[in-house]
Symmetry: C2
DNA sequence: CTGTTAGCGCTTTCAA
DNA sequence: TTGAAAGCGCTAACAG
């Protein structure tokens, strides 16, 4: 069944059916209604492929992420999909699995499906693949990578502000021995967070020797925390580069029979779902995936549909105080009474 | 740029280019190579829609899930996508958000994109929408819903076997007061799990009065566990209908100052990622999403590409023993030494 | 083995 | 406002 059958039933030309489908205003209300009745009667769904072929737009956006099983991404994907569908577009999700080589496959998939734009929400990217996309006039949007160009926008996250608020919070609670467990140093965003932390502490005139590196996963956080606990100078507060790391750290602390936040305060970054369900719930810096998704979609949409140029967008993470942070003064006898601080 | 340009550069007809692209064996090695060189030189990516239009197959499979932010689904999606891409197919993911009304939108999206098959991995489905899909000869595969038909396969999970192994394990540890926190009773799979538990306990001649209902989310598990702990007859072991519920229960137990597994043993269901990272790590019944995804894809693929009929597939969950289960005899002095049982 | 050509279902000028 | 008809890029049947 196709547009011709609808046309026949409605006694109009295929062009008129097409116009009706596309909401053209050059169709009499009467004709439109007749066509619509025919469409419903035949339960006709226009073939999107044919539409794409004819019109040159696929109504499809590509979304490249690292790994959907990384808790950071599902919300992002969901929000992106939501907005896209609301705008009558579809989404093609592709995982790179943190593997630059797979990035190639992803890009080729996007190219074959002739997407109307690609949101690259990962850092495993290859400059030459990006060029590939750009040379085909495909609008792009990045997360914290590169600069805005003619057809490419960039969403920059103000990590520094996020880290600052976390350090402020911790410092206000009287902590001075503050540690940082970073992510892998080959990841740009992990470096930025680490640098922001160091800068912030320096500004406050604090020592910044309590640094450990991990891998942004639970196991890495666990091991890094164990190393911190083995130091002569132990931290009384620990910031982690992301929540997964913090959750690993939490486990390591518990294993030593220590308490959070009585013995050690802990702050994460991202605010993934499970962070509200740990024991205690994690104080963390929220990086709104919904906001990122919205910006990313708008960025692509405005370039592709509204002819705008690429722009720079910025996102400010915000501190979410929950149960894992408390005063540094645990020596006091009434320390246990200060457990709940959220 | 299109197939014609490639043809021109390679000095062959478009048909030959097409054949080369599709790996037809009726092309001389020499010609094929010439064409391939042209393709690379022009960085030509065949337009998938035109291909779909011409051939009648979109090389696109639909995957309908409840909610990508539910930890059960990401792995499923990823595995499905992996297999699909490996077979040169693409995947269109759609979330119903547990809302039968949104199921309609999902189905219509699938229809418009002319997918080659749909994996319906959720239970919010509407019989008439399924009919809609079936009437268009779209291969389907369900998870625990309906029976196999001409163009529809069904993957059935042997919940009973899974629950059995969990109860066996718990019983072997000497527990007799075993509770079950079920999922929402409007969810078919939740009912099956609950019934399987009851049946299993009956078979062992145990009382089955320790039942609570929750919602398959962390908060529900927490509250249900709290209610169990308020009972005169307290359970020494608790099985949860899914891991989220168990994680909520874990929190509730800790809040009362009780220990897992010393005071209460806990078993989950599903084996989602975080379950290995709770404190203690959760003993649970693993329902392999990878297996589900593989079966689902194979089911669709064999119907669509190999002309098979719909079939019934079955999956057996398996027990994963970790730290949250231990002997019921916590009165013994050496109880603490038995903490780690994984 | 290769080329010619008629579609696939829809969009979009261009006329009417 | 509507219709006729020429593509969009590719596939596949048919001819050679």
């Amino acid at each position: 069944m196709n547009i011709r059958e609808v046309a026949r039933l409605a006694k109009v030309s295929t062009a008129t059916v097409s116009r009706t489908i596309n909401g053209s205003d050059k169709v009499t209300r009467e004709t439109r209604e007749r066509v619509q009745r025919a469409i419903e009667e035949l339960k006709f769904y226009p073939n999107t492929w044919a539409r794409a072929l004819g019109s040159g737009r696929s109504r499809l956006y590509g979304l490249i992420i690292s790994d959907i099983t990384n808790p950071f991404f599902p919300e992002l994907v969901k929000s992106f999909e939501d907005i896209a569908v609301r705008h009558g577009q579809e989404v093609l999700v592709a995982n790179t699995n943190y593997d630059p080589a797979r990035m190639e496959v992803c890009v080729s998939r996007m190219l074959q499906r002739k997407v109307d734009g690609v949101a690259v929400m990962t850092s495993e990217m290859d400059e030459h693949l990006i060029t590939e996309l750009e040379s085909r006039d495909i609008p792009l949007v990045f997360l914290d990578t590169g600069a805005a160009r003619k057809l490419a926008s960039n969403i920059v996250v103000d990590y520094a502000a996020g880290l600052d608020s976390a350090v402020e919070h911790i410092a206000a609670l009287g902590h001075t021995a503050i540690a940082f467990i970073s992510g892998p140093m080959n990841l740009a965003s992990a470096c930025i967070r680490r640098e922001a932390f160091i800068a912030c502490l320096r500004r406050k005139g604090m020592v910044t020797d309590l640094l450990e590196q991990a891998n942004h996963r639970v196991d890495g956080g666990h091991d890094a925390m164990a190393r911190l606990l083995d130091r002569k100078r132990r931290p009384t507060a620990v910031l982690a580069s992301n929540d997964m790391t913090a959750i690993g750290a939490l486990g390591a602390i518990h294993e030593r029979g220590l308490s959070v936040p009585d013995d050690i305060s802990l702050v994460g970054f991202d605010d993934i779902q499970i962070s509200s369900f740990t024991q205690p719930a994690l104080t963390t810096v929220r990086l709104s995936r919904e906001q990122i998704a919205q910006m990313a979609f708008r960025a692509l949409y405005s370039i592709r549909q509204e002819g705008s140029e690429g722009a720079e967008y910025s996102i400010h993470p915000t501190l979410v105080v929950r149960g894992s942070t408390g005063p540094a003064v645990r020596q006091r006898p009434r320390a246990t009474g200060q457990r709940k601080s959220a």
